[in-house]
């Protein structure tokens, strides 16, 4: 085992992920209207963040790796921001 977390912490992370999966399934049983998608995405993002930090060892990496890892999130933000700006500023006859 290297210094990237003990078995105990990895199992705890796994239990957390299982719990979040239950939350995902549970949330899907209720209709939150316009919040359906945001809630599902928030839960999924938390799961992805936990995986990236612990299973992909981002927690133990240096600044340059963080720059590489977080830049795609910036691009994702750009993709969504520009596309949504287009959709909500169209003039429909």
């Amino acid at each position: 085992m290297d210094n990237h977390g003990s078995y105990k912490s990895l199992i705890n992370i796994w239990i957390l992920l299982m719990f979040l999966t239950v939350v995902t399934v549970g949330a899907a049983q209720f209709d939150f209207g316009a919040w359906n998608v945001p809630i599902a995405l928030i839960i999924a993002s938390v799961k992805a963040g936990v995986v990236a930090l612990h299973f992909m060892h981002l927690k133990h990496e240096d600044g340059l790796t963080w720059v590489f890892a977080s830049y795609p999130l910036f691009l994702l933000f750009l993709l969504i921001a520009f596309t949504v700006t287009d959709m909500f500023s169209r003039v429909v006859n």
């Binding site: 993709l79 596309t83 169209r90």
Partner: protein, 531 residues
């Protein structure tokens, strides 16, 4: 750094298996070169036939459907099988470890796996030709959803090719971070490597988006999910957003490595240090970053909102800045240099000339009002070919000639190669310059038929393909028949590390990892005289 005792990489093993299972970056680069070369020729033949069809209005040699299939085959094969993997995978693989002073890339097996994925993706793509697509290389919805052709199989092939691209990009990034020789600091890194680094960033960051988009296309077609079809609650413009979010950065995946080649060739044949090293290096990164912000300029007439049109138009002008920085720096490198017009140099000078035309006509298209008139006309076809052929392919040809002695250990007939260059240069301009005029006169792209008044310009353009094809065949003939005798290790007196060893290099490149003590472009200086 003599490699006398060690077998060179070409002699180290014979037969199919010694190549197909090799983890030697040089052999993998050569295999990419052969593969993309074959696809380039197939796609070029398709374009030759398409142009032949335009000799007369109406049907000349093929039906309208065959015409649609052939221009789709030409575009998609050129983009996804030749020009995207083209320079980066072939010359990148061969050169990066040699240039940074490493024995191989950092993940050699992953490198071979990338090549196999490329072959697999290409095979799926070719199988799909049983019912070939007629959608154009952009696969726009809703037609790509409705078409009876093998659109999904082709896009699945491209999906696999994307993985190959991503893995190659990761390999190159990590290699340049971890395997640079002692003293090979970032500000001594050859500019080809900087360009390959920026390209790799784009490959890793942009390619997943096109992969996801193609999966959505599959989901819509097979499972009836509503992503792009308005009848199912989708938005066809959304496909274009996703597609161009990848495909515009992909333009720079295609052109950046060629820019790196030009930055290597020009100092050698000007005998001058490259002007503005850091500006060129950082311009590569700037292009990579800004290229993610301009995709909407492909969609000005798609129904995209006016507000976002204005935003994309303004940012599009910004990407011209780092590109122009490179062009000015190459020109300043030439200024008062001792210029030798070798074949590789001729292709490089042609690159600057043609790419500048391609770049400046891009600004026409980036201007909103002009684009409304020029969109989907032959002006766009001419613009993108001036960038992609005049830029990338001329850069690729420059590299083929410049590193030919290093790759094959032989020299070629410069005189014949220069005649081939002249034919290709003239042929290229005769093909595409009339298309700028055709476009401004209103000739739409991708149309099978055309009005009689366009015939003379169409015919001129077709004649150009005959001149260009003659030049290309002569170039192949020249390169396939090397001169007798072994090439010297450094025939062009380059100071770059890959020329410091025998031609062709030994299997492990360096007996001992070198220590770098000087900048790489010290041409015409006291240091060069001493060395």
């Amino acid at each position: 750094m003599s490699q006398e005792q060690e077998k060179n990489y070409l002699e180290n093993g014979e037969g199919f298996a010694s190549w197909f299972f090799t983890v030697d970056h040089k052999r993998i680069g050569i295999m990419y070169l052969w593969a993309i070369g074959v696809f380039f020729i197939i796609a070029a033949i398709a374009s030759f036939l398409v142009r032949f069809e335009h000799l007369t209005p109406g049907q000349t040699i093929m039906t309208a459907h065959t015409y649609n299939v052939l221009f789709t085959l030409h575009g998609s094969m050129m983009v996804f099988l030749f020009i995207v993997p083209g320079v980066a995978a072939s010359f990148g693989n061969f050169l990066i470890p040699l240039m940074i002073g490493a024995k191989d890339v950092i993940f050699p097996k992953l490198n071979l796996y990338s090549f196999w994925l490329y072959l697999l993706g290409a095979a799926v793509f070719m199988i799909a030709l049983a019912a070939p697509a007629d959608t154009g290389w952009t696969f726009y919805t809703p037609y790509s959803i409705e078409s009876g052709a093998n659109v999904i199989l082709i896009t699945f092939g491209i999906f696999i090719l994307g993985f190959s691209s991503i893995l190659t990009g990761i390999n190159f990034i990590v290699t340049m971070h971890k395997l640079r020789a002692p003293g090979m600091t970032w500000d001594r890194l050859p500019l080809f490597c900087w360009a390959a680094y920026a390209t790799s960033l784009l490959q890793v960051l942009a390619t997943p988006v096109v992969g996801i988009t193609l999966l959505l296309l599959i989901g819509e077609r097979f499972f009836g999910l509503g992503f792009f079809d308005p009848a199912r609650g989708g938005d066809p413009v959304l496909f274009q957003h996703f597609f161009w979010f990848y495909s515009h950065p992909a333009v720079y995946i295609m052109i950046l490595p060629a820019m790196g080649i030009i930055s290597e060739v020009i100092p050698v044949f000007s005998r001058k240090p490259i002007f503005g090293y850091k500006a060129i290096a950082y311009a590569s990164l700037a292009i990579a970053l800004i290229s993610f912000l301009v995709w909407g300029h492909h969609m000005f007439v798609s129904g995209q909102s006016k507000l976002i049109n204005v935003i994309f138009s303004v940012i599009t002008y910004a990407v011209a800045v780092p590109t122009a920085i490179k062009v000015f720096n190459w020109l300043w490198t030439l200024y008062k240099g001792s210029i030798e017009l070798s074949t590789a140099m001729l292709y490089s000078l042609a690159f600057i000339f043609l790419f500048t035309i391609g770049g400046l006509t891009g600004l026409f298209l980036g201007a909103l009002a002009a684009d409304v008139h020029l969109h989907d006309t032959y002006f766009v076809v001419a613009h993108m070919h001036y960038v992609m052929i005049g830029g990338t392919v001329f850069g690729f040809f420059a590299a083929l000639h410049f590193w030919y002695p290093k790759m094959w250990g032989r020299m070629f007939d410069e005189f014949k190669a220069k005649i081939a260059f002249v034919l290709i240069f003239i042929g290229f301009n005769v093909i595409f310059f009339p298309q700028f005029i055709l476009g401004t006169l209103g000739m739409p792209r991708r149309y099978f038929n055309y009005a009689p008044e366009f015939q003379s310009l169409h015919q001129l353009s077709t004649y150009g393909t005959w001149i260009g094809a003659a030049g290309f065949i002569l170039m192949l003939w020249t390169l396939m028949r090397p001169l007798p005798g072994k090439a010297p290790g450094n025939p062009y007196r380059s100071l770059s590390l890959e020329w410091s060893m025998d031609s062709p290099p030994g299997t492990f490149n360096f007996d001992e990892i070198p220590t770098i003590t000087e900048p790489v472009y010290n041409y015409g200086t006291k240091i060069e005289e001493e060395s």
